[in-house]
Symmetry: C2
């Protein structure tokens, strides 16, 4: 089963998108960040979803790219806020240019996202925008919660799950829902698609957190242990803090509060504590429950099972991924 | 002739707009900046423009507020980029909170602007968005040019006029055009409205620059001479640099390059040079030409003259304003 046809169509269409040209400081960063690649997961979800309901999935290509442009806009702005030096192995926009360029290029990217999203039939535009506006605001809410959590010591696992639902999952939900709307699916079916994406999105982010600790350094694109080094309050750390007591808790607190440490030593020590506390399996259980929930919604979609094979295949790819 | 009915309706509707509530760091800054007031010029232009073509100008109120929310979003982000401490006499959002809050609140404000702008009849939505997207991107382009000009020593008056056209005028043009679209005006009439706003907007910004130097300190809301102190490359300074030679040029260059100076002395000295060079009258001529151009387009609108009185009255208010 092949996804190549769809990814190729998306990449090809992406090359034809014009964002503007003058002044170059405003538009070059857009071309730059869009050229860094990535999984193109969101637009792929949109076209695969549209294809469930119509043979003319091509009409979903540009709106789908709107979701991808929006996603990259959030990355550009999040990277400023997080002072991230690298994105997909390359300098972030605020590093390569400066903060102001990253702010303003991001702003105009959001306008471009709306432009692309508006390339839908007139009768569907209001519904698409309404749903997108909700998702877009929620993504911002998620990022704000994420930043707030950095300064808090009492974040719960439930709060973390709500944060990643907002920051990551709802946009995957919207991507699938958008395909449904464009493909002509009814309200109920579109709502199911949204729930599918939200659930898969939660599983996807938990997978990301797991890979950050347990990924194969040779396959994982980023430095394994980055979250541990940054004391990022992931599901894993929050679960560990919930479970740990006695000397294990002391040791965990030692590593979290240590100002000076050997990076490799810290990653190994915290990972060992995670293993001791059974944090990995708890996290995998929660992750798998979300993936199962998403697959369950997919099963409920009033579409012939053979039609769903491609999405099912893509989801299993996401579930099994090693990077 | 009274505009009170319209401004009251706009302010009343503004109080009913819900942007969201959680997390508070994301939404409080939006309420804050929107509560700082301002002329509400853009939404007023939209409803007055709609009223040229329909008695039901109320239907333009929420889309008009979308333009106002967009305008305030640009202020929030511009203030970060310009490191401005104050806005309308109050702390800017990045000063009261921090840069990250101002970036992210601004982002979600842009989403809110689209939400409000989308409150139009289905059949008009695509046209509204298409025109707005163009204006929004141009406003960003204008801000980027403005920042670029700070680092350049060879900016021309023509480049300056193009910059303020993008940064300020096109949104006034869109505000009028939006009213036309919502009021049911035809393409040609909407294009005339756009040209009216663009021209009035250019005059408006030149007036702003003049007030910054020649305004009555008791009436002008900001510090008179702020542009001179910042060596802001306004039409006045660029015209002065173009006209000055010999010792006058030397004196002007002295003040522009001086690292240490008495603020009052600098403002007085540069203003005196402006007077000597006839910079004020040149600027007023160009400004008046734009206002006349705008009023000329207004005359061409296929609408009964009595209908136009309110817009004419409002424009003359803008032209005569002392703050």
């Amino acid at each position: 089963m092949s996804l190549t046809k769809y990814t190729a169509a998306l990449e090809e269409a992406l090359l034809t998108v014009t964002y503007g040209s003058t002044p170059p400081e405003l538009y070059e960063p857009i071309h730059y960040i869009m050229s860094l690649g990535g999984k193109r997961m969101r637009p792929l979800l949109t076209v695969l979803s549209a294809e469930l309901f119509t043979d003319d999935w091509q009409k979903a290509v540009f709106p789908a790219l709107g979701v991808e442009v929006f996603h990259n806009f959030t990355l550009m702005h999040d990277d400023i806020m997080d002072r991230a030096p690298l994105r997909r192995g390359h300098h972030t926009v605020h590093e390569k240019w400066n903060d102001n360029v990253a702010i303003l290029s991001g702003d105009v990217m959001l306008v471009s996202a709306y432009e692309l999203l508006s390339e839908v039939e007139d009768g569907k535009l209001k519904r698409v925008l309404k749903r997108f506006n909700r998702a877009a605001a929620e993504v911002c809410e998620g990022q704000q919660f994420d930043m707030n959590f950095e300064k808090r010591q009492d974040v719960t696992k439930e709060e973390y799950l709500e944060m990643i639902r907002l920051k990551t999952a709802v946009l995957l939900g919207f991507a699938l829902e958008l395909g449904g709307i464009l493909g002509g699916a009814d309200e109920h079916t579109c709502a199911l698609l949204k729930k599918t994406g939200d659930a898969i999105g939660l599983g996807f982010q938990l997978k990301d957190d797991l890979l950050d600790v347990y990924g194969d350094p040779d396959k994982f694109g980023k430095l394994v242990g980055g979250d541990i080094l940054a004391n990022k309050k992931t599901f894993l750390l929050l679960d560990a803090l919930e479970k740990a007591d006695g000397t294990i808790r002391q040791e965990l607190q030692y590593w979290i509060t240590a100002k000076e440490f050997n990076a490799i030593e810290k990653v190994q020590a915290v990972t060992a504590l995670y293993d001791l506390l059974g944090v990995r399996s708890t996290s995998e259980q929660v992750m798998n429950a979300y993936f199962d929930e998403g697959l369950g919604y997919l099963s409920q979609l009033p579409v012939a099972e053979e039609k769903k094979q491609l999405l099912r295949f893509y989801f299993s790819d996401l579930i099994a991924r090693e990077r």
